[in-house]
Subunit: 216 residues, 2 copies
Amino acid sequence: MRQPAGRSARRSGGERKPREERWAELIEVATQVFYEKGYDGASLQDIADRLGMLKGSLYYYIQSKEDLLFDVISAVHKQGLEVVRGRADVPGGPLDKLESVIVGHVEHTCRNLVPTAVFLHELSALPVERREEILGSEHAYQGVFRDLVEQGQAAGQVRADLDPRLAALSILGSTNWVYRWFRPGGTFTPEQIGAEMAEMAIRGIATEDVLKARTA
Amino acid sequence: MRQPAGRSARRSGGERKPREERWAELIEVATQVFYEKGYDGASLQDIADRLGMLKGSLYYYIQSKEDLLFDVISAVHKQGLEVVRGRADVPGGPLDKLESVIVGHVEHTCRNLVPTAVFLHELSALPVERREEILGSEHAYQGVFRDLVEQGQAAGQVRADLDPRLAALSILGSTNWVYRWFRPGGTFTPEQIGAEMAEMAIRGIATEDVLKARTA
């Protein structure tokens, strides 16, 4: 939640909580409107109408539609990153952590289909600098996966000939893609998808020794 | 290339070739304009300007902007489907074919980044019936991958406990995702990406026996 300095000052004090709630509601509604109409098709007027606010009141929170898109995308990206980092940042072997990271990422995606779709479809509507501000110059998300693959190679658990970046992109592809076909109440639960995708991914990159131990 | 009956009659005879060429050019330019501006942001006027045609002349080929999007998406989908079906429709074992299908799909995606992006980003702008007309009610593309996984299970080459649809979606996810990060002249060639993704995918789904034989 990026806030210009002047704003956070105004948001402190006794009225803090209601405004934070209002902010959360604004992000939620904006996400939904961007999803339904696309960023180009959505107007601040649409969002204000949905909130029962005057359009002018939105400028108390944001300066432009682009600001709002930035905040919407930042929010879901930050949340997802916390999930995968939290699962990577525990004691244990790199492949166990990678497995847990994949499951967490799939479940987070399945439970946040609308914000994920806005993130993936509308990111390119932001100027390059703001995109990089969100993703990080080193692609923070991808980095979590790549680091674990590299740690797996160092531990002799991941095939040495595999390029860690390609492995990370392959895993991110199959798990991100879930947002396009998963429907709540459909054939598979988020847990099933997470477990099966993790199994395929780990087997796809593991050394023979790990695979033998896995089946034994 | 869908053509209303009345049109194809008008397009026969001596002038056929120039008009087919004009049509190909129209599809190419429309793809580029939809890519740059998004379907919502693009107008038939933009496309006519780029072609150096009067907007009215476009109506000789199509009836609406939606028709054009349909034709653009159909074209790349049909082409990609021909690639994967061609590689699945040869003599050989199911996993060898799946490997070849994955390589073909990745290479096709890398060489058709712009039409693929339009296909994947703008498909949802078409009404459901037209989407299904392209994808097929059984999702023809996914079907090629799923059928090979099922054949692999029947042959004892693919883990029996794996859901073939989930396996197909996982492989399609990692290979489709390539359109988002591949850049010509970057670190990896299409051939490298295809080969590594195929290796990971096959290992991810194969039985122990196949894996042993693969390393031996």
